[in-house]
Chain length 182, copies 3
């Protein structure tokens, strides 16, 4: 098994699904963003996570490349990251070409749920303080992620697996995810 | 602010939205196609816009690259172009890889509206002489543009912002577009 | 006319549509997968189609490149292949970057039908032994193919033509496909 990327918008439960699917297997989990912060700290570019946003676009790009290079060399690893990140300037690709060329994933998992389910899960999460996305915007985000994932697949040959994590049906989601890590 | 691309299918009102969003700011507007014709004239390849279609595919590609190179060097510029162009042979990408590599946009705006709204606006436009697209075809075109935009984003790292320009709600559209040019 | 790629999910009738559209014209048809097997046999890598799946990923990639190189040099050719292949690990891109760079298609045709129509056609096909996809999964597959095709278009400049092959309306489909091969 090579590098597997798992993605999904906030509230979809991607980490739960993949960790359960990988239970008992010799597989590591890393979060792309956390590895990137660690590297930035090692390079004395930042002291903590909050300082990351002060880096220039070019510095961020170089850090992304270093991170992808490091993670891409790991074996049997599931990388937790974003297909696209929703920002005020639009959907930002989580795996632009320069990341893909280093990471070379063999599969990209998109964990999805019904937009209404995601809306409800987010509404219950009291740690979220932002204006909530409407159901329509959640649908849009999931659609853009699918398009992004197929573009990532074109550049790498990775397969794109869509896994539905519906309410009260985690077992179904886990079963859908299992073939990807076998 | 770098190079921002604004796209949207005919009848969606992309130019109006972006010009209003940029009001009072030091931002230039250029139309990709017009810059390309100017360059073609300078190079004595054509005398007018009508002759552009007589150029070979390779000549057009070289002109696209020159145009993207020129526009890509501008600062604070909004480039008006097509995400995809609908032709009898299918949807043609407005920003193929060779254009993107020179243009290096930092954001791609897709102005959208409900397919029925676009249909109605086109029906009122008496300068349009082609067979009208059905509502379903308009929906299809907007969907293909989203997919194309995420592919452009993958190659450049640009964000993709979807702005809805609904009837009688230009102010909402302008407000959605503003963060992209700040 | 250069290299035209025709795609469509099983049960959509892509080959029928394109062969009828090309009737009486000097156009060759090749199936990407068949050319690949022929090359693998010539190179003594396999004895038959069944052995193809035993090849390593790297061997398969090299064979894809050789196949694309061979087909890409043909003139007036329609290449029958998959936009994406549905596998237990997810949707696998049929035309990853390394294939596109050699194949350089000028147009990609996606033959589609209503998911329910495809479901019914597959149900009638007694040679199919797999678990049938649901109507929702068929819809998903067609959507992923559109996204993949626009990504292929971005890398090559190819147009993407969507042709609907509805029940009892083959003539309409053929008429939609004709401009692509003219």
């Amino acid at each position: 098994m090579g590098v597997i990327v798992v993605t999904g918008i906030p509230g979809v439960g991607k980490t739960t699904v993949m960790q359960k699917a990988a239970e008992g297997m010799d597989i590591s989990f890393v979060t792309f963003g956390s590895v990137m912060i660690d590297i930035a700290k090692e390079l004395k570019l930042v002291k903590d996570r909050d300082e990351m946003r002060k880096l220039s676009l070019e510095q961020q790009k170089q850090l992304q490349i270093k991170t992808a290079g490091k993670v891409g060399k790991m074996k049997n690893v599931i990388v937790d990251t974003h297909c696209t990140v929703k920002t005020p300037k639009g959907y930002m690709p989580g795996l632009p070409e320069w990341v893909l060329k280093e990471l070379q994933p063999t599969a990209i998992v998109i964990v999805e749920a019904d937009p209404q389910e995601i809306y409800n899960r987010r509404a219950k999460d009291t740690t979220r303080d932002r204006d909530p996305d409407t159901v329509e915007k959640i649908m849009e985000h999931q659609m853009m992620n699918r398009a992004a994932a197929m573009s990532y697949a074109t550049l790498t040959g990775a397969t794109v697996k869509i896994v539905y994590n519906h309410d009260n049906a985690l077992d179904v989601a886990v079963k859908e995810a299992e073939p990807v890590i076998q």
